[in-house]
């Protein structure tokens, strides 16, 4: 319940942050978010900065460059957009640190189940992909030609497809064997 409530608060904060156009209010919101982050604030702050830096810098420099071509450039706008973007990503990282997402999504059993399964599979697939990448790098004596690079990427993708098919079959079998798909057993199998 607590996680679901925090997720709702996050959604409300996001809507508020995009509805308020006064940088002072947004800066105040950022201070509240920093307070909520507690001891994790510096780490979250740094992570948020890295996440927004490229796109924000691109927009800021592009907008400021308009002054070179005689366009009206507003410093207030630059302050507003940068605080807003940073506040939103900071809030997202605070949410990720403070909320158990799978519990928060529990209002829909199918969605919670889907998210749990997808997250566990993402971890498995990422590890597999890293293994494939490291294996390919350890066997490489020179930089790959363009064609070789494409063939290597395609081979990795095909391997991932095979693994996906296999895992989907295995999980479905495991679920069937535990009675997950029988309507009367559905609630029990899902812990409901």
């Amino acid at each position: 319940m607590k996680d679901r409530l925090l997720l709702l608060c996050y959604a409300a904060a996001v809507i508020a942050a995009t509805s308020v156009h006064d940088p002072r209010w947004l800066a105040g919101g950022l201070l509240v978010a920093v307070a909520l982050a507690g001891r994790q604030a510096p780490a979250i702050g740094w992570r948020a900065l890295r996440a927004v830096l490229f796109f924000s810098l691109l927009v800021t420099v592009g907008y400021a460059a308009g002054a070179l071509f005689g366009q009206a450039v507003s410093v207030d706008y630059l302050i507003l957009i940068n605080i807003r973007v940073y506040l939103l990503i900071f809030l997202t990282f605070v949410l990720a640190a403070r909320v158990d997402l799978l519990r928060a999504l529990n209002f829909s059993r199918d969605l919670a189940f889907l998210a749990t399964l997808a997250l566990s599979q993402i971890i498995t697939f990422r590890r597999l992909f890293d293994d494939l990448r490291l294996a390919a790098e350890s066997r490489r004596l020179r930089r790959l030609r363009l064609r070789e690079g494409y063939l290597q990427s395609a081979a990795a993708a095909v391997h991932l497809f095979d693994r996906a098919e296999h895992d989907a079959r295995e999980i479905a079998l495991a679920m069937r064997s535990r009675g997950f798909f029988q309507p009367e057993a559905k609630g029990d199998a899902r812990g409901g």
């Binding site: 996440a51 997808a118 997250l119 599979q121 992909f129 993708a157």
Partner: protein
């Protein structure tokens, strides 16, 4: 291609959520009709596959590289609705767990990349495959990159017109369509060539077995 949080106005993302909710409901109905009880595990695994396909390297001339999107491949192999559902789930998890993209841009990214990209990929594939299958696969990969780029460029480009202060200053994304269309679409039209080649190779490998 993801737009980060903070650049889209509520006038954009709230209607986009309404549109995406309708599309998600339709996608789930379509999938329940076509896929048996294994829908949930299949969708979860395909979402993970979609997530990791976005890490596959797309080599560029000169030794550099970018990441693929894999949407064209997923759309050709599994169809547009399951791709849309899987990409939406990937975007949700990326936004809430990994902090990439964002919750306000989720419906726009899902509609543009998951639905626009996969429908365009399937249409391109079906139109060109009778002529030459490889051309159809290439078109699928290229369109799955370019169509979302066009949609996102349009959404970004209309922000100054729909969300500005009384003084006419933008409140969200500052550039109009004259800037966003070439800035977003041209690079993606070039990257789409790589995505098209990868789609030809991957689906070709899968079909030959």
């Amino acid at each position: 291609m993801h737009v980060p949080d903070g650049f889209l106005s509520p006038q954009t993302y709230l209607p986009a959520y309404a549109a995406a909710a309708g599309a998600w409901a339709y996608a789930v109905r379509q999938l329940r009709r076509r896929v048996d009880e294994t829908l949930l595990p299949r969708l979860a695994v395909l979402s993970a596959l979609g997530f990791v396909l976005m890490s596959v390297v797309l080599p560029l001339p000169g030794g550099t590289s970018v990441h693929a999107s894999g949407i064209g491949i997923l759309a050709v192999v599994f169809g547009p609705w399951i791709t849309f559902a899987a990409v939406s789930l990937v975007l949700l998890l990326q936004a809430l767990v990994f902090g990439a993209g964002g919750i306000t841009v989720l419906p726009v990214n899902a509609l543009a990349m998951g639905l626009g990209g996969s429908v365009a990929a399937c249409l391109g594939y079906r139109l060109l495959t009778p002529v030459d299958e490889r051309a159809g696969l290439f078109a699928a990969g290229w369109l799955a990159t370019v169509v979302p780029a066009v949609l996102i460029a349009v959404v970004l480009g209309i922000q100054p017109a729909i969300a500005h202060s009384a003084a006419g200053q933008p409140l969200f994304f500052p550039f109009d369509l004259a800037v966003t269309l070439p800035a977003v679409v041209v690079p993606h039209a070039i990257l789409g060539v790589g995505e098209g080649l990868l789609t030809v190779l991957v689906v070709g490998f899968l079909r030959r077995r």
